[in-house]
Structure formats: C-alpha cells, structure tokens
C-alpha cells in the first residue's frame, strides 16, 4: 500500500538485473500501487532489456488498527491465496517492508521451506517511519526473517539481531 510501495521501489532502484524476474504481491484493495509499480518497471525496461516482472493480488490480511484476534482470522484467509501463489512462484528471495500483506506471504514461504519444497531467503526492511517501535509485521517477522533491516539506530539497539545500514530509502 501507498508509502510501503514507494519505499520498496526505492529499495529496488539500485538492484542489478540479476534480481529477475520480480514478482510483486499486492493486497486486493490496493489501487494506487499497481500504477507505481508499472511505471517503475517500464523505466527499468528502458535500461535493461529482458526485464521481467509479474503482479498478483491476495486478500488484504489486516486493516489499520484491526484487532489482533480478528487479524489472525483474516491473515489465515489471505493464506488460502498466498500459499498456492508462493508455491507456484517458488521465490529464491522475498523482500518485504511491512504491510500486512507480507505476513501471509512469508508464512507461506516458511511452510514451503519446512516441507522441503523451496527454501526462500526472507529479507525484511522496516519502514523509515519506524524510529522507535516496530510495526506489527516487523514484530512478527523479526523472529522469522533471515535478515531484518532497520533504518534508525534506536531500533538497532532494541532489536540486536537486526541490521542497520542507515537510511536506505
């Protein structure tokens, strides 16, 4: 959604074409992100021939400030979509930055890893908006991601297993 998309596209901006094909997963209710992504990929295609990407949608797993208990239910519902999608895509690397959408996708990837079907590297970058506290997605994925990146030193202190590279968006 919105700010998350802008941030993730900035993260992608300096990646080489080895990171291809790119598969974007959006919440079904997200209207603006698709346009931003297509615009980004179009520019990219001007520089790198053979640039490839896909776009898929899954049900939104959580509304802003939705209660914890109902979020578990809606996340499980989203997983009915994210699990077959992740199985189909079999990603080597998952990059996410905090919208609720990333939780069902990452859980699906973890399951596929546990079942020996495909082991993905999960890299989570917490939003630049998070200076002192982690988002709910961040709190969950801090334990389940392979690399957890924060953009402010205060968070690095609170979450020692995280990686601090300074501001990267």
């Amino acid at each position: 959604t919105g700010g998350h998309t802008t941030e993730i596209l900035r993260l992608l901006s300096c990646l080489s074409e080895s990171y291809s094909p790119r598969h974007y997963i959006l919440a079904d209710s997200d209207e603006m992100s698709e346009a931003k992504i297509r615009s980004f990929e179009q520019k990219r295609a001007e520089t790198f021939s053979n640039s490839q990407f896909t776009l898929d949608r899954i049900p939104r797993s959580r509304e802003v400030r939705q209660s914890w208990s109902s979020s578990v239910v809606t996340t499980l519902y989203s997983m009915l979509y994210s699990l077959p999608l992740t199985y189909k895509l079999k990603p080597d690397l998952i990059l996410c930055n905090g919208p609720g959408t990333c939780v069902p996708v990452c859980i699906s990837a973890l399951l596929l890893g546990l079942l020996g079907i495909k082991r993905a590297i999960i890299v989570y970058v917490e939003s630049i908006c998070r200076v002192e506290t982690l988002s709910l997605s961040g709190k969950i994925l801090y334990y389940f991601s392979d690399y957890f990146i924060v953009q402010w030193p205060g968070l690095k202190e609170k979450y020692p297993k995280s990686v601090y590279l300074g501001r990267i968006v």
């Binding site: 919105g2 700010g3 802008t6 900035r10 993260l11 992608l12 901006s13 300096c14 990646l15 080489s16 080895s18 990171y19 080597d92 690397l93 990059l95 590297i121 890299v123 970058v125 939003s127 630049i128 908006c129 998070r130 200076v131 002192e132 506290t133 988002s135 392979d146 690399y147 990146i149 953009q151 402010w152 990686v163 590279l165 300074g166 501001r167 990267i168 968006v169």
Partner: protein, 104 residues
Amino acid sequence: FRFKDSLARDLRRADLVISHAGAGSCLETLEEGKPLIVVINEKLMGNHQLELAKQLHRDGHVLCCNCSTLVETLQSMDLSTLKPFPPGQPEKFALFLDKVVGFQ
C-alpha cells in the same frame, strides 16, 4: 484542493510548507529541500506517526508546533536553523543484498 494525484508541482513552487505529521508528507517535503513546520495534533498522540516527526525535529530538519502555537511559531521562526535532509542510500541496500544472496 481536496485530493490531487500529486502535490509535487505545488511543493516545488512553495517557499514554506506547513504539514501534519504524516511520514509521506514530511519526507516528500524534505526531499524537495523545502522548509517544513510540522503541526502535531495532540488528539492523535500515541499514533506511531509521531515517531518520525519527533526524530526529524530532534535532528533539526523540521520545526514542530501544535495547532494553538502555530501562529506564534510562524512569527518567531528562524528557518536558517533547519538542517538539510540528505537523501537515503538504496545503493547500500543493494550492496548488502548482493552479499547476502551471493552475487559479487
């Protein structure tokens, strides 16, 4: 002025921006190099949105006030005290990721 697709053009023409504490608004304004006064709405206290505004204020990139002190701030402000906001460095992320994945 209800909902425009992008405020970019207006932003570029502005000499001063007065905004709420939304991260997108703050960052977009700072990246355009415009002086920014962030108005904090006490009724939204406890919202994590304030974290970024507070940090930007601590680092000297923005002026802060609340609705009742806005006029006073405008009258007494010294915009030359604001420090420029350097851009983020996604290239550092690319280097890190290349190492993680094994591309060198």
